[in-house]
Amino acid sequence: MSDPLTQRLKSLVVNTLKLDGVRPEDIPDDEPLIGSPRFGLDSIDALELVLSLEKEFGLKIGSSEESRKALASVGALAAYIRSRQKVA
């Protein structure tokens, strides 16, 4: 069972990217999010997600390289947000 932050992130992914027929619980914690043929998400989706994350969590992600690392998986994203919230 995912923790509340991970669940919140999965809902954000589904809603932001308008994933037709995908439920938040269908998204695994540790599988690559971008480039997975299962969801058909690409780098533009990643950037759109970054925009939502910046709004939702008050973050600032500076470069495409940083966003790529942060969005490696939902689990990686949750860890990234926790680390940034600690810094703040």
């Binding site: 990217l17 308008k18 994933l19 037709d20 969801f39 058909g40 533009i44 989706d45 950037l47 759109e48 970054v50 925009l51 910046e54 709004k55």
Partner: protein
């Protein structure tokens, strides 16, 4: 100079003016990969529909004509400031409408000629296709209906799209496009929408401009 090409594919989309992108997505969903459909705009969906069966290859060319292009993405992108959406920015850039279709189908091309403009847009798009050395040159175009930009005459008031494929092969052609240089002056050519309606109705078209006489005839 006389240039002539034969028409081997024609398709026109003229949906109900009130059709929404959601309606178009539902109507045309079988024509696109599921993963591509999610992000497609109304114009992209209609263009994709008209290019079904165009049989373009990587050495072919496509001329894409639109006066207002990705109106809704443009409107929504502007509405989103100061939080600019990367997807809407990307989609709003001409020729996003046709690129959605070609990327969704992984259809590489030698040359893509995206054109803007208005009064002589059809004439210039056809001339660009006639000057193409490619064996098959498609001419596609269209508009989607705007909202607040329409209120300021910066968008089309009804959605439409068309595509035709021109080749040098007379056999089996549906018609032909011809340009002949002449001392003919600048007449009134068809607007993009009139051209689409003419294709749908298989109506012959003649006009002058660009230093010559134009004709589109059907067999």
């Amino acid at each position: 100079m006389t240039a002539e090409r034969f028409i081997h594919h024609v398709a026109v989309e003229q949906p109900d003016p009130a059709e929404t992108v959601i309606g178009a997505r539902e109507r045309l969903r079988d024509r696109f990969p599921r993963t591509a459909l999610r992000r497609m705009t109304h114009l992209g969906l209609m263009l994709g529909s008209t290019l079904d069966g165009a049989r373009l290859g990587p050495e072919d060319a496509l001329v894409y004509a639109s006066t207002f292009a990705e109106t809704r993405a443009l409107e929504d992108y502007l509405n989103g400031f100061p939080a600019a959406s990367p997807l809407l920015f990307q989609t709003s850039i001409h020729p996003g409408g046709i690129q959605q279709v070609l990327i969704g189908r992984q259809q590489s091309l030698a040359r893509l000629w995206p054109m803007a403009g208005r009064d002589r847009l059809v004439e210039h798009a056809l001339l660009t296709a006639l000057l193409e050395p490619a064996a098959r040159a498609a001419v596609a175009g269209g508009e989607e209906r705007g909202t607040w930009m329409l209120d300021h005459q910066m968008a089309a008031d009804r959605p439409f799209a068309f595509a035709l494929v021109l080749t040098r092969e007379s056999a089996g052609a549906l018609g032909q496009v011809r340009f002949e240089t002449a001392d003919a002056g600048e007449g009134n050519g068809p607007s993009l929408e009139e051209f689409a309606r003419g294709l749908a109705d298989r109506r012959a078209m003649v006009w002058t401009g660009g230093g010559g006489a134009w004709s589109l005839d059907w067999r």
